[in-house]
């Protein structure tokens, strides 16, 4: 894709967070450092998206069409070099220390060029996110140390989150549904651990992951009551990758079937006990759904930027396509919708920082520890060992549960679902409407606009279909009032 000389979206000078979201001005007055860090993220993310992603993503998409297992390590390494894939890890521990607002900026900018490459880089935080749900101090410290270590070495450390099964998609994300599901994967107690058998499907990065965080039930006749969460290293005997899917779009991000055949998982890798699996999923969803909304927003903004670029250069006799009045009205309408959804997205991100797990980093004990303890010690095996002692290990869980209550989680599922539906419906709508502007010629591969169209549709399906999201929104907002 070619850069645009029209300074909209990705091609505008960064940072423009305050000028494009003027309501942040108030926050800027009271917490300037908070806004500053997001502005900084925007400068870095936009530069990366423009300089590293833009010139490559069409070529990557084409290679993945031929071979769904193709992965562009070159782009991944460039992102790794500047730590974009470990952005939420505290700076002191080797990450970027980006809060939810800064991460929303990152997702918006990268998705405005390529949704799939953006997810290769940013979805890797599943590992940390998954661990932070139960928040056992020892596990969280170990995962952070492993991720930082891999980053330093320039080696990938990939995490997949595996909930979907061939016959249960929505069923794996919703309580009432889960009670009725037909599981195709199950766990069984064995000496010193558990044995897992079955298949999960459509797993992002399932073919590349080093660890899979999987929800699996013990009793197939009582899936909800027996649903548990496991951490499964993919080098365990009996784990294998099935089909890597050929998809409509989102091609640079691999979607794989994963198969468990008598996979042994040690006791300590049971992250959530039977009956708590759904709760684990809901907590992750309470964060990720909103981010998918942001990704949809980014895609819409990117598609519009490319369409504007095309229309401004396409000659129609004596004038340009963009001089046609009908084109201008369509663009105005899209800009309006992007503005509105964008405000909702950033509102959500700021709320995450205020009420959800990110606030932990702002709490005194953690803030102080990060301040006074030396980095070597924070990342050391001895600290991890110390943290695994019963008291310290459960202190994390206790503390986190105090900060992030059940109600908070469900409230964020609700808000996140609204943002998810808004952002992803926007993505699909805009990808369609810009095609209506640029026509056949503009939809030729080289302009990249057709790729936005192919990519957009996935956003309405994963992270819960938009119907499932609407159900969650309704069941948390209105049904309790009836």
């Amino acid at each position: 894709m070619t850069p645009s000389d029209i300074k909209f979206g990705l091609f505008a000078d960064a940072p423009d967070l305050l000028s494009t979201l003027p309501a942040l001005g108030k926050l800027n007055k009271h917490c300037p450092a908070y806004i500053k860090s997001a502005e900084n993220a925007q400068v870095i993310a936009r530069r990366f998206a423009r300089n590293e992603m833009l010139p490559k993503v069409l070529e990557i998409d084409e290679k993945c069409t031929k071979d769904p297992r193709y992965f562009d390590w070159d782009l991944w390494k460039k992102a790794n070099d500047i730590k974009l894939n470990i952005s939420p890890i505290p700076e002191k521990m080797g990450g970027l220390g980006w809060n939810a607002l800064a991460n929303a900026v990152l997702v918006e900018e990268l998705s405005s060029v390529c949704l799939a490459s953006a997810s290769n880089i940013t979805f890797n935080t599943f590992g940390l996110l998954g661990a932070m749900v139960e928040c056992r101090t020892g596990i969280v410290l170990k995962i952070i140390a492993d991720m930082v270590d891999a980053q330093k070495k320039g080696e990938p450390l990939f995490w997949s989150w595996a909930i979907t099964e061939p016959s249960a998609g929505t069923d794996m994300e919703h309580g009432r549904a889960m009670a009725t599901m037909r599981p195709s994967t199950h766990a069984q107690k064995a000496p010193g651990g558990y044995i897992i058998n079955g298949t999960k499907c459509f797993i992002t990065n399932g073919s590349l992951a080093h660890y899979v965080i999987a929800n699996i039930c013990f009793d197939i006749s009582a899936p909800k009551e027996s649903m548990a969460t496991f951490l499964i290293p993919t080098d365990t005997k009996g784990f294998s990758v099935g089909t890597v899917e050929r998809k409509c779009g989102q091609k640079a991000s691999q979607t794989a079937e994963i198969i468990f055949k008598d996979v042994f998982v040690p006791e300590e890798n049971l992250w959530e006990p039977p009956g708590r699996g759904l709760r684990h999923t809901r907590e992750i969803l309470s964060i990720t759904r909103g981010f998918i909304g942001v990704a949809g927003l980014g895609l819409a903004r990117g598609a519009l930027a490319q369409a504007i670029n095309f229309a401004a250069h396409k000659k129609m006799g004596t004038h340009r396509l963009i001089d046609e009045e009908w084109v201008r009205f369509i663009i105005a309408d899209i800009v309006k919708e992007i503005m509105i959804v964008r405000h909702a997205c950033y509102n959500f991100a700021i709320a995450l920082d205020t009420y959800h797990v990110w606030r932990m980093f702002e709490e005194l004990p953690i803030k102080t520890s990060l301040k006074i303890l030396p980095q070597n010690f924070l990342l050391s095996k001895s600290l991890q060992k110390l943290a695994q002692t019963k008291i310290l290990d459960s202190a994390g869980t206790f503390y986190k549960n105090k900060l992030v209550s059940e109600e908070t989680v469900e409230a964020f599922v609700k808000h996140g679902s609204a943002v998810k539906v808004a952002g992803t419906d926007l993505a699909v709508k805009v990808a369609n409407r810009v095609a209506d502007i640029v026509g056949l010629e503009g939809m030729s591969r080289k302009h990249g606009i057709e790729k936005y169209f192919r990519d957009a549709k996935i956003t309405q399906i994963y992270e819960g279909t938009n119907q499932a999201n609407r159900l969650d929104l309704l069941e948390n907002e209105i049904i309790p009032l009836l």
Binding site: T164, S167, A168, G169, T170, D171, H174, R176, A177, A179, T180, M181, R182, C201, F202, E245, R246, K247, C248, G249, Q250, M316, G317, E324, W326, V327, I330, V428, N432, A435, D436, I437, V438, G439, L440, E441, M443, S444, R445, K446, E450, F453, R454, K457, I458, Q460, I461, Y462, T465, N466, Q467, R470
Partner: protein, 372 residues
């Protein structure tokens, strides 16, 4: 032609489409291959499918444009890409139906010559925006053409093109000519790489001092202008039919899948939200079928096919088809996004139908502007 014969033809075409196209069209979409099209085309000659629009006295099927639209509708149910090749071909027959006997004789004989199959024709329209990059002059009874045509379908497949040369605001100058693909000075440019209708490559045709001799000049002036209007209108109607056919298939797939798939402990078709979606899809499909039929209504048996304006049908049917297909994918959940399920292909195909012959917003505007 009687209703009975038509319904027999339709029945045979349906069988042909299911047997010959269904199984292989996903592979063809993945790696487009002209030989695949030629193979299907040749087989379809046994059913006289390519000759349906040609009058019976020239060994054709004598079908009306509406009959052809029905056939295209059902072909598009299997693959809108291959159906669009037939749509271009049938459209190319329209000006010939309005031509002098001598031209009819010449070109219909050529198109039905069973010793030289496949013979595929396509049409090159002047750009909708009226901004042509083709120059031509008339010299000693010949037309000499230079420049590049706008985006045309079937460029890798067609043996020849019905080419319209037109100047905005001066219908006296309009020309309708036949150009052999193999004529001196004719080349095709780099095809656009479009996301849909992939087996039918769209791209520019380049003309370098191409001389069209008198016997390939089908008409000029007002007659050519009438042919242009008719061909364009029929092409919009055909595009509408293709979209409806593709969307019908998506709808049927969604109905079947919604009965097969269980979530929340019941078939998803038992969820009211899915019923609402399917109900709306059905409504749009019904309206779309009616819309394109209506567009052809006046053209059933009369020549020239002038009266109707098929632009509203094209806009309505292709937009409705996109909405239907999007919902069909949604009902399939993650499976709908996978190539092997064949639904996302329909979405990509319909996207191109929305843009064919001018984008829908552009057409909505120009359709009214032209009447002022």
């Amino acid at each position: 032609m009687t209703e009975e014969i038509i319904s027999r033809i339709i029945g045979e075409c349906r069988k042909f489409a299911t047997n010959e196209i269904r199984k292989t069209c996903l592979d063809a979409d993945f790696s487009p291959d002209a030989d695949w099209v030629f193979g299907i085309w040749k087989k379809s000659c046994q059913l006289d499918l390519p000759f349906l629009a040609i009058p019976e006295n020239f060994c054709g099927g004598g079908c009306t444009p509406l009959d052809c639209a029905f056939i295209l509708d059902l072909l598009a149910g299997e693959c809108a890409g291959i159906a669009s090749v037939y749509a271009h071909h049938f459209t190319a027959c329209i000006p010939l139906l309005m031509a002098e006997d001598e031209h009819q004789n010449r070109f219909f004989t050529k198109l039905t010559d069973k010793n030289a199959l496949p013979k595929i024709a396509a049409v090159i329209f002047p750009p909708e925006s009226g901004d042509s990059s083709l120059q031509w002059i008339k010299k000693n009874g010949c037309v000499i053409i230079n420049g590049t045509s706008r985006i045309t379908g079937s460029i890798d497949l067609a043996d020849g093109f019905i080419l319209f040369l037109a100047e905005t605001g001066d219908s006296e100058k309009t020309q309708c000519v036949w150009v052999d693909r193999s004529a001196k000075g004719v080349t095709t440019g780099e095809p656009l790489q479009l996301p849909g209708l992939k087996i039918n490559a769209f791209g520019p045709v380049l003309f370098n001092d191409v001389t069209i001799t008198n016997d390939n000049i089908i008409a000029d002036g007002q007659t050519a202008e009438k042919m242009l209007k008719a061909a364009r209108s029929v092409f919009y109607g055909f595009t509408a039919a293709l979209a409806v056919g593709a969307a019908r298939r998506a709808f049927e797939k969604a109905m079947d899948y919604a009965e097969e798939r269980y979530q929340f402990g019941k078939q998803i078709i038992r969820h009211q939200e899915i019923q609402r979606m399917l109900g709306n899809m059905h409504m749009k499909l019904t309206a779309g079928s009616a819309a394109y039929r209506q567009a052809f209504e006046d053209q059933k048996s009369k020549l020239p096919f002038l009266a109707t304006d098929a632009v509203p049908a094209k806009i309505f049917c292709t937009d409705a088809a996109m909405e239907i297909v999007m919902d069909a994918i949604q009902i399939h959940g993650g499976y709908g996004y996978m190539h092997e399920y064949g639904i996302e292909k329909i979405m990509r195909d319909v996207k191109i139908l929305q843009l064919l012959g001018g984008t829908n917003s552009f057409l909505a505007v120009s359709h009214i502007a032209d009447k002022i």
